[in-house]
């Protein structure tokens, strides 16, 4: 996923979240779908909040709060996780 990719998470109002031990159960009101997300996906969703980010900016923001390893790896790995969230419709990607 290129560093300039625009990302936006689904609005918090559209989701119901229930934490169950290792997984978080998420209900998406827009799709009526239920997802079970394991770490770090729920945290990533939380951190995306209600605004738009570029992948690069988001990676920087995350590194302030979470321990990410060397810069290159982090971007690629983060890109993969965001791709997974996008496939579920929880993040829109441009």
């Amino acid at each position: 996923m290129p560093a300039e990719t625009q990302l936006r998470a689904v609005s918090g109002n559209d989701l119901l979240r229930v934490e169950l031990d290792a997984l978080t159960a998420i209900y998406d009101r827009r799709s009526c779908q239920t997802h079970l997300l394991g770490e770090p996906l729920p945290d990533i969703l939380n951190a995306l909040g209600d605004r738009e980010w570029t992948l690069a900016a988001f990676a920087d923001h995350l590194s302030l709060h979470f321990d990410l390893s060397a810069a290159d790896d982090a971007l690629a790995v983060l890109g993969e996780r965001l791709g997974e969230l996008a496939a579920l419709g929880l993040v829109s990607v441009r």
Binding site: V18, A22, A25, T34
Partner: protein, 288 residues
Amino acid sequence: MRHCIRLAVGPVTFRIGSDWARPIAELASLYANYPASADPANATVRLEAARPWRRFIRPAVTIGGDFTIPGALPLPMSMGLLAAEMAMNLQMALGWRRHLLLHASAVERGGRALIMSGVSGSGKSTLAALLGESNAWRLMGDEFTLLEPASGAAYAFPRPVSLKNEAIAEMAARVPANRFGPLLKATPKGDIRHLIPSAEALEVMHEPAMPALILFPRFGGDVAVTRLAPSELFVRLTEASTNYAMLGEAGFTALTRLVTTVPAFAMSYPDSATGMALVQQCWAEAMA
């Protein structure tokens, strides 16, 4: 259709039509003690001959109704009762929306429900039947347990319990003969005999109970009881539900509330007596 019967089980009223008299007569006998209902049916089943001449020549019962699956093979007339039961299950599994449906048996004690979820052969029906015959427990159902989304309460759906193979002899030793349906030999699932729920169970079949314990029994292994984490319970229950996805937000809220408030165990056991003891043990712990 020439022959017809109406049956009420819990909140469901079935209208069953048949091209032959025999399955209807067998159903009338099996359900004779069930309270009658004057309500219009909310589920319709048809037991039909695939071709007109099949009513007479090598008669085979094809399952039909409001909801069907394509390509189901017909059953011989001797298993007409089984066909009727399968058809009734299908109407529930594919059509019922009022409750979250779990493929599970359930028994009630002191207003609380013990739910046992599992596939055919897991022992859920036999355990429920055994518990139901003791004074302490009321049989709520052996095939489907109905959960009301808003309240989380379990509702009974006490159809005749489908006992298979060895379980038949086991129950026959404890229960009078007039509580059994005919012996259906060599069906696709082995020998089957239906156990009619007790009069008490049928009398209070509309009374709900709050779930207090969920078990996943597995018949035929060494004794083992493992606590299930809520996330694993959630996955297992969505797999055990035929209509979770159709209930939307109400289903999600009900199921998450259930898995975060009710303890659950996977339980394997070598024989019924051990199984019963383990169940009582788990129940005692849950009540503590």
